[in-house]
């Protein structure tokens, strides 16, 4: 803003005109030029934002299948865990009871079954999480690169 005022003053320095008229002209020029500069700067920023959003949407589209895949395997595992505790375990306990296995013995074996089953589910959950984080990491990385590209345009 100051820079523009200085330039206007410099240009009008040798122009012969009434001081008050010169002052008015300077102020008007200042306002008009600043409006143009601000508009240009806003347009540039909006353009960067638009390109970013556009690229981001394209990336999301590109990663759509990955996102669907991660969500579907997580859902499968969640369902399996729920089914195990809600159904399978009850069926196992009923089988043990029907076979007249001693209750203390049955409880020890069931405890170890739950333990082993849960460890396997947890490990699978960890593998899925690792994969999901990896996908998010790749998505972020590509998004960053796209932003850099649009800033350079």
């Amino acid at each position: 803003m100051e820079e523009i005022s200085k330039v206007i003053d410099y240009v009008l320095k040798n122009v012969e005109m009434d001081d008050s008229a010169k002052k008015l002209l300077t102020e008007n020029l200042n306002i008009k030029i600043n409006e143009k500069v601000e508009l240009y700067s806003l347009k540039t920023k909006l353009e960067i934002l638009y390109n970013y959003e556009k690229n981001y949407l394209e990336l999301v589209k590109e990663f759509k299948e990955e996102i669907k895949f991660a969500s579907s395997i997580q859902e499968d595992l969640r369902k399996e865990r729920a089914k195990f505790f809600a159904e399978t375990l009850k069926e196992v306990q009923s089988t043990l009871k029907d076979s007249q296995v001693d209750s203390k013995v049955a409880s020890n074996w069931v405890e170890e079954l739950v333990n082993s089953y849960t460890k396997s589910l947890d490990l699978s959950g960890g593998l899925i999480e690792e994969h999901t984080l990896d996908t998010i990491g790749r998505l972020r990385q590509e998004a960053k690169q796209e932003v850099k590209k649009s800033e350079l345009k």
Binding site: I73, E80, S99, V101, V105, W109, L113, L123, L127
Partner: protein, 148 residues
């Protein structure tokens, strides 16, 4: 990437299915010792350990149906085995799958031997305790020798 993860998850899922199926179908491996050693905690514990060692081994059998996931499977199995309090150092088992499997298989056989000894020996407690300790030490020693 996705297909490798699907294969890996499938190995663990198939093994879990076997686990619950064994209980539901009254597998002899589970139900026989439940009655046979109802009043013998030591042999019952050994039978349980043998069965669940067999469950860990089963993952390797399922793994044979898949290809191109050697490294991922080895890493996952190493983490899995560790959750069972089996003392494995951060070994590089990528090239030692067969050895790893054979060690677990040996452990399973050893547990069977101990159960057999327990069935016939009158002074079985001391002998079982000694054999158990020896097995644990040898097992840990062999697994740790797999260090890359």
């Amino acid at each position: 990437m996705n297909s490798k993860l699907v294969d890996l998850l499938s190995i663990f899922k198939q093994s879990r299915e076997k686990l619950s199926q064994d209980f539901l179908s009254e597998s002899l491996e589970i139900f026989e010792p439940m009655f046979k050693y109802e009043n013998d905690n030591d042999l019952m514990s050994l039978s349980m350990e043998k069965y669940f060692t067999g469950y860990i081994n089963y993952h390797f059998e399922v793994f044979l149906e898949y290809s191109n996931i050697d490294i991922e499977f080895s890493k996952a199995m190493l983490s899995f085995v560790k959750t069972f309090n089996i003392n494995v150092s951060d070994s590089n088992l990528n090239n030692g799958k067969e050895l790893f499997y054979s060690i677990l298989k040996q452990k399973e056989s050893f547990l069977q031997e101990m159960i057999t000894v327990g069935n016939i020996d009158s002074d079985k407690f001391n002998k079982l305790s000694y054999l158990y300790q020896k097995d644990k030490t040898l097992f840990d020693r062999e697994l740790n020798s797999l260090k890359g």
